[in-house]
């Protein structure tokens, strides 16, 4: 089972790298760079057309509807582990 977090994806500073934006539990935005292997999206984003997608996470402790999750890379604002709401998380069965 893979666990993913909702995010918005646009091109990064290198080919194969992407700029990722997401939200903490209180709506505050975070941003980071991530490699393609840690992302899931349907169509290739462009500068003018960011796409909605998912970023791979490792879930941590949960309290009520709040969850600590570890991202694949550090964010610019909040380090590598952030708090999100449980309904921001997606599960995907690995084949």
């Amino acid at each position: 089972m893979e666990i993913w977090l909702d995010c918005t994806i646009s091109p990064g500073q290198f080919t194969g790298e992407y700029a990722v934006r997401g939200n903490l539990f209180d709506g505050t935005e975070f941003s980071m760079f991530a490699e393609k292997e840690d992302l899931n999206f349907q169509s290739e984003p462009t500068e003018d057309n960011p796409v909605v997608g998912l970023i791979r996470i490792v879930p941590g402790p949960q309290k009520d509807d709040l969850l600590l999750v570890r991202l694949p890379q550090p964010t610019f604002e909040n380090g590598q582990t952030i708090t999100v709401k449980a309904n921001q998380i997606r599960e995907k069965i690995c084949k």
Partner: protein
């Protein structure tokens, strides 16, 4: 404690350290010109992708939540180097690059955990080129290529070629247990009791 070259290779074999692709050969033999393993470090190569920050009438503001990565990406130019078309790094020019190798310091194999430090190579520094001049620590748990901040402080052009040895990675053993980065919560309104 810094790992010796043999301990680095042992860590690679045990999966406590991942360098992908693995630097080779592991030892010098007659007829072999180059071995990436120094006594206490292993060389890393330059990826063919570089990123050149653009100048302009704007300023970076890292306090603007959510927009930093996007802004940095929009204001940089991506280039792919080839053997035929290397990159001439001019004096005072700054670029971002990354290592050819993906580095992994998994925390599911320890303790003892491993951390790393990326450093320049003296041959490059003698030309006035800094290949990595901030944030050298590769924390336990890291997984990915390492970003290089390269600047030419020398008086002449320096040629960057894909897969040239560009930096060296020092591996250290972490003393004690670790928890996942508690300090980051200092800037975050984490719900009380969650940590």
């Amino acid at each position: 404690m810094i790992l010796s070259n043999l301990e680095i290779q042992k860590a690679l074999d045990e999966g406590r350290l991942v360098i992908d692709p693995e630097p080779s050969p592991r030892e010098l033999k007659p007829g072999v010109k180059y071995c990436p393993y120094d006594t206490t470090a292993v060389d890393l190569k330059l990826h063919n992708q570089i990123s050149i920050p653009k100048g302009g009438t704007f300023a970076y503001d890292l306090t603007k939540s959510g927009s930093v990565s996007d802004f940095l990406a929009r204001n940089s130019m991506k280039l792919v180097l080839t053997k035929e078309q290397p990159f001439p790094l001019e004096p005072k020019q700054f670029i971002l690059a990354k290592t050819f190798e993906r580095i992994g310091l998994p925390t599911d194999k320890g303790p003892p955990y491993l951390a790393g430090r990326i450093e320049g190579k003296s041959s490059r520094s003698r030309c006035g080129v800094l290949v990595h001049f901030t944030a050298p620590t590769v924390h336990a748990g890291w997984n990915g290529p390492l970003t290089l901040e390269i600047i030419n402080l020398g008086p002449t052009t320096f040629i960057l070629r894909p897969e040239m040895p560009i930096a060296q990675l020092i591996i250290e053993e972490v003393q004690g247990q670790l928890i996942q980065n508690p300090s980051q919560f200092q800037n975050q309104s984490t719900p009380e009791g969650l940590t």
